[in-house]
């Protein structure tokens, strides 16, 4: 039986891990929930974000500048992918959408490998968040503490843009009946474009913020794609609050289980997901038949 202090430390770590998972999953759920497209390129876009900050922060030495310029780059990448590929697939069956986004992922991964090679790249922790912070009950990396704050701000900003402005409303109306929205004089395609770009931005930002922690290599996105799926299944497919709560729940499950036996932390995560699929198939925050 682990000590109380270790359990508290792991519970805290679960929160930190959970906010990261929430950010990673948010990009996937935004696109799924509003456009109805299951984006299998999500992991590759996460990876692309990590490489963008590797290049920019590596060249300029500024992590913050990397985030800003990288954010703009990811938005543009999102616009490009939507205009050139995704737009042609809104009316196609779900399996076509999955295949085409999977194809985009392969192109991105192999392009990055062709340019940078297969070895891991190194991204430094920004100098203002180096070292560890003594929290009394545990010692924790300063950068991970800073991430909790940064991610909270990002998640709230995303929420406001998507759900407290008219854009989200237009998009959801467009999903229901694009022709009717068009007749009302609203350009629904522009709203679709914006939402897709924001989803790509969220995936990219997650990759950028994760880059100093993990191994930055062309294949890094695969694990995050799977974890994102688990999170949004728990939270409810396409539900933005669901991704946030699902992320934190997943983080806590992984962390607290590992206080007992780390070999079971992933097993426990999937067991909870399976249980939830039986008891509440739409997930915690999902509406039945929404996606």
């Amino acid at each position: 039986m682990p000590s109380g202090a270790l359990l508290i430390a792991q519970a805290f770590n679960g929160l930190a891990l959970g906010t990261l998972l929430a950010l990673v999953s948010s990009g996937l759920t935004i696109i799924l929930g509003t456009l109805g497209v299951l984006n299998f390129a999500h992991g590759a876009l996460f990876m692309l974000g990590a490489y963008v900050i590797f290049v920019i922060a590596g060249q300029t030495g500024s992590f913050v500048l990397g985030l800003v310029v990288g954010g703009v780059f990811m938005l543009l990448a999102g616009v490009f992918i939507e205009r050139v590929v995704i737009r042609l697939f809104y009316a196609r069956p779900a399996e076509d959408q999955i295949l085409v986004t999977f194809g985009i992922a392969i192109v991105l991964i192999e392009a990055v490998r062709a340019i940078f090679g297969g070895a891991s790249q190194h991204v430094d922790v920004p100098s203002w968040a180096e070292g560890v912070t003594q929290l009394g009950f545990l010692i924790y990396p300063t950068y991970r503490l800073a991430l909790i704050g940064i991610i909270a701000v990002l998640l709230i900003a995303l929420y406001i843009v998507l759900y407290r402005t008219s854009v989200g409303l237009v998009v959801r109306a467009g999903i229901e009946d694009a022709r009717m929205v068009g007749i009302l004089g609203i350009n629904v395609h522009r709203a679709f474009l914006l939402v897709f770009a924001i989803g790509v931005l969220a995936a990219g930002l997650a990759g950028m913020l994760y880059a100093p922690i993990v191994s930055v290599n062309p294949d890094m996105g695969a694990d995050f794609l799977i974890e994102s799926f688990v999170v949004i299944v728990i939270g409810g497919l396409g539900s933005y609050p669901g991704a946030v709560v699902g992320g934190i729940i997943a983080g806590e499950i992984i962390s607290i289980t590992s206080a007992f036996n780390s070999a079971y932390s992933q097993v426990m995560l999937y067991a909870v997901m399976a249980l939830l699929l039986v008891l509440r198939p739409q997930g915690l925050f999902g509406a039945e038949g929404r996606v």
Partner: protein, 450 residues
């Protein structure tokens, strides 16, 4: 009936092809009198004699160029290519190895390389193609034990010699060993027996030890070997964090290790997992609290983790390029490789390079490509060791493990590095023979010659 990784259809089609090949070979009795084939006394075996006719032979090479081990895989490929180019051209280095003239028994080596995507079934499909279409006389290459054992089984079934690539699991020359497969990398058991005494010397006996163990054969194999080897010196396991292969965030496991009170942290994670876990161990302050050791250091790990995190970390590698100061053939290899590829070879390249040479030597000793004769030449190498990039080496006849020294290394501090790739100092080059497990310890039963 052997278990196959391939769908049955492929297997059957292949069997047909091989059957037709055999008929073809029998229909051409004149070829049997070609010198060096000795076919007049042997029935056809695998791709022999079809693959040994003409003025060249074919080697099938599989290596991961995509997937988690792609950096290692590329290095591996460059090692094979250098050895083949040298052997085909003949000359100084080739003569130093003891080969005669150009090529192997006067035949040029042709080869093809296929990307395995780090997937055993892709590797098996590719080598099956090389065997059936190109009549590969030897197959080689992999960067994961899962692929290694799948290709070993293929080699035995098809009766084509397999010089196993990078594979550190005990099973490769243990329960999954095959008559047709030879492994040069030290096993987990050998690595542990080489590393633990060095750590005892540096840090003392009765250590409290925490482990980060990837949850597959290789990880468990190393955990068992190291905790077993440490037991005699009073080491205790205070924490063993078993994590899935391909974990990205090790924070919860590292918190447990940080709180375990361990003095030594054995990080068994490999490849991208080793990079992520080492970076995070640094960030969580684990590396300040305790010493870290990496039993098998990944080829590019020091460069990949950056920030001097490998400083003072002990570990082993199949080969490190500064061995060039110790062995003349290593010097030839390192210099030629650096000249051609503009970086110092890592151990994946070394395995590809040295395996190709040792195979060529065995063929010339057998004076034939006839597989059973080549196998017997390799098995008899104890009495006549090969002079190699690691000094005198030989294969143990009972399990086909190469008996070779194991280099134990420690990460250098930045100020002591003589060039940007001078990451490690050789602490000790431990002779191989005393490190070997008893031949039957891991359940090896070699198959038939024909």
């Amino acid at each position: 009936m052997q278990v196959s990784d391939r769908p049955d259809g492929v297997s059957r089609r292949n069997a047909l092809r091989l059957g037709l090949g055999t008929v073809g070979a029998l229909a051409l009795p004149g070829l049997a009198s070609v010198p060096g084939l000795a076919a007049e006394t042997h029935a056809p075996v695998g791709t022999w004699p079809a693959g040994a006719q003409g003025d060249s032979v074919f080697i099938g090479i599989t290596t991961p160029l995509t997937g988690p081990y792609s950096a290692d895989g590329k290095d591996h490929q460059l090692g094979y290519e250098l050895a083949i180019a040298e052997i085909n051209a003949g000359g100084g280095t080739v003569a130093k190895w003891g080969l005669k003239g150009k090529g192997v028994l006067g035949k040029q080596i042709r080869y093809a390389i296929t990307d395995t995507e780090t997937k055993p079934n892709v590797a098996v499909q590719a080598q099956t193609r090389f065997i059936s279409q190109n009549k590969a006389i030897m197959i080689s290459g992999c960067v994961a034990s899962s692929t290694a054992v799948a290709l070993e089984e293929l080699a035995q079934r098809e009766k084509v010699l397999n010089m196993v690539g990078a594979s550190g699991s005990n099973a490769t020359t243990g329960q999954d060993c095959q008559r047709y497969a030879f492994r040069s990398q030290p096993s987990a058991y050998m690595v542990s027996k080489a590393l633990v005494p060095v750590l005892v010397k540096q840090m003392g006996k009765a250590l409290k030890v925490a482990y980060l163990t990837p949850d597959y054969t290789y990880g468990h194999s190393l955990f068992d070997s190291i905790s077993g080897a440490g037991k005699a010196d009073g080491w205790t396991v205070v924490s063993n964090q078993v994590v899935p292969l391909g974990t990205s965030d090790f924070s919860s496991a590292l918190l447990n290790i940080a709180n375990s009170g361990a003095q030594l942290f054995v990080n068994i994670a490999f490849g991208a997992d080793a990079v992520a876990s080492t970076k995070q161990a640094g960030q969580f302050g684990v590396l300040k609290k305790m010493k870290m050791t990496a039993p098998n250091i990944s080829a590019f790990q020091a460069k990949e983790v950056g920030g001097g995190l490998m400083e003072g970390v002990y570990g082993t590698m199949d080969f490190w390029w500064t061995l060039e100061d110790k062995y003349p053939l290593a010097k030839d290899f390192v210099q030629a490789f650096h000249k051609k590829n503009n970086y110092y070879p890592r151990w994946d390249a070394h395995i590809g390079y040295a395996q190709t040479y040792v195979w060529a030597l065995a063929v010339e000793r057998a004076n034939s490509f006839y597989p059973p004769d080549v196998i017997k030449a390799l098995e008899a190498s104890k009495s006549n060791p090969f002079d190699s990039t690691l000094g005198k080496v030989w294969y143990r006849a009972e399990d086909h493990q190469l008996v070779r020294p194991v280099p134990v290394l420690v990460g250098k501090v930045a100020s002591a590095m003589k060039n940007p790739e001078d990451f490690y100092e050789l602490v000790e080059v431990v002779p191989g023979e005393p490190l070997l497990p008893p031949p039957d310890m891991f359940g090896c039963h070699l198959g038939a010659y024909t």
